[in-house]
């Protein structure tokens, strides 16, 4: 499809895509070296059981911290066209606004997935080298797979917000303020309510849904490796709750679906507003 080819060229002929990869790679490497540091501090001989690998869980937490970059990349890829006024040319050369919208959302998904992959690869590499305990390959791969999907979805959300707002600074503010501050505030408000049903709503916020999706499998895997007399019953779920701040978190799959619904909302808004906007 012409529009997609054009968007690919557009994305890879500016610095943005690799400029954002630098912090992603560095942060992921640093964060996953910690499992190794932890092993060095604790005298492994003191613990009666073999310590399980921390890599899947540390990688999942790293991915949750870094997913904002996927959203930012999607936002800039879409809304940058308004900032540089290239949207005029884009609409003049493409076969319709719908084609442009579709191509931009797909590119944002691909860019998000790429970021998720690079973050996973960089983190895993360092983690495998630094840590004595080796992870179960399946645990690690599931973490990476879910992480890549969540990154792709956040890329689409970013692009959707960018196209819906039609202004790069405005769209970035919306995405960053929501992800870095807004959702925390809403979560705290929900968790402070007396009703458990209201507490559970925190799992339906997009940021939390993505976090829960990524963290659930490695947290369960980690909990299983610890004998239940040490960890207690239902340790996996408690760990997810502790790590994400969500009460009674839904399953990984349900959380992915929740994030997908939010993504669809962003896409709908983008389609509505970008189809109507006057380009002056």
């Amino acid at each position: 499809m012409n529009a997609i080819k054009s968007e690919v060229r557009k994305t890879f002929t500016t610095k943005m895509w690799w400029a954002l990869l630098i912090p992603i790679t560095l942060i992921s490497m640093l964060a996953n070296a910690f499992g190794g540091l932890f092993e060095n501090v604790v005298d492994v001989g003191d613990i009666p059981v073999a310590l399980p690998s921390l890599l899947p869980i540390s990688l999942s937490l790293t991915l949750n911290q870094l997913v904002v970059f996927a959203a930012v990349a999607g936002t800039i890829a879409a809304a940058g066209e308004f900032r540089h006024r290239t949207i005029t040319t884009t609409y003049l050369v493409n076969s319709g606004r719908g084609a442009v919208l579709t191509a931009k959302l797909l590119i944002a998904a691909a860019l998000g997935a790429l970021y998720g992959l690079v973050a996973s690869a960089a983190g895993s590499m360092v983690g495998l080298l630094a840590q004595e305990a080796k992870p179960d390959a399946a645990d690690l791969l599931v973490t990476i797979l879910v992480g890549v999907v969540v990154f792709a979805l956040w890329g689409v959300v970013g692009a959707g917000v960018g196209l819906a707002v039609g202004n790069q600074v405005g769209a970035l503010l919306v995405v960053l303020i929501y992800l870095l501050v807004g959702e925390q505030i809403i979560s705290v408000a929900l968790l402070n309510a007396d009703s458990v049903a209201v507490n559970e709503l925190s799992g339906y916020l997009p940021g939390n849904a993505g976090d829960v999706a990524v963290v659930t499998e490695p947290a369960r895997g980690f909990a299983e490796l610890i004998p239940s007399e040490v960890a207690g019953e239902n340790a996996g779920n408690q760990l997810v709750e502790a790590l994400t701040g969500v009460t009674n978190p839904p399953s990984s799959v349900v959380s992915l679906l929740i994030l997908s619904v939010w993504t669809a909302v962003a896409v709908g808004l983008a389609a509505f507003f970008s189809g109507r906007r006057d380009i002056t």
Binding site: K5, V8, T13, H84, L92, S95, R276
Partner: protein, 372 residues
Amino acid sequence: MHDGSGRIIVNQISKRFGSVAAVNGLSFSVEPGVVTGFLGPNGSGKTTTLRMVLGLVRPTAGQALINGVPFGRLGEPAKVVGAVLEAQGFHPSRTARNHLRVCAAAIGVPDQAVDHALGSVGLAEAAARKVGGFSLGMKQRLALAAALLGNPQILVLDEPANGLDPEGIAWLRTFLRGFAAQGRSVLISSHLLAEVEQTVDHVIVISRGYTAYQGSLDQLRAGQRARVLVRCPDPARLAEALSKADVLEIDTLPDGRLAVTGAPLQKVAETALEAGVPIYELTEERADLEQVFLRLTSGQFAGGQPPFAQQGPPPGYGPPPGPGYGPPSGYGPPPGQYPPQHPPQPGPYGPPPGSGQYPPAQGGPPPNWGGR
């Protein structure tokens, strides 16, 4: 699908931005084989109209059709119409070639078209440079290259001469004339008639969002009135003799010359001879088209005037607004003295332009895009 005619039809199109009525029921058509000029002062709605034609701005009322369909239904629009719009953007860190490769991919033309387009606008050498470092004129050329990529049948250009050097302007003029000569259509906007006078065949003049004139440039030119300037030792006697000979539109210029309107040069000379007034200097002066244009669009900033009727005469024959036309004027009859005529008549002369912003009305070659 579209009909392939190469025609643009704008039908009663209007656009409001909140409380601002940018375009008010504008209608015109652009025909293949000619260059159509779209003229109007700043803020008269040119850019808004062109953007409505190109599907970038949604009209409040009316419609614009290209080849019989709205822009959005052209299918592969860049293969039908290429456009260079005012302040069209580029990503500053993308190179010229990459900018065009992005466009080529969207249009669906092979990458060879990119180098061809770069060459044809004279940017081959700058192809690998980032657009952020380009001059205004280079950006205009790059925008034109993008417009040409799809080998379109119609070109729409909004103030394309902005930033172009004389050579570039001359090249553009030749290019557009050649483009139209192939039976294709060109719509080009400008706020200066002189700028496009050498290029266009048809003109559409708009003022405050209304059509003030639509027709051929020749017709507009034919409506010009000439006046005869006479230098003589006894202007009063000559004026008296002229008025006896039924020549009544006589004014005295600040330098003492008489300005006679409505009589041929020969008649003035013969009358002077009969009256025994020696003549030191006798010249015929034609109104510049720019003054016609100014008069057509005057009142844009005066407020409160009714819209002009299409093809109708311009309102008011007072001195044109703008720099270089300061008082005293007083070289013409008061407003309304002329009966309405078709095509519109330029008004009488104001004092000659003083600021140099407008071309002198007398002597020299006609103003053009690059020659001065």
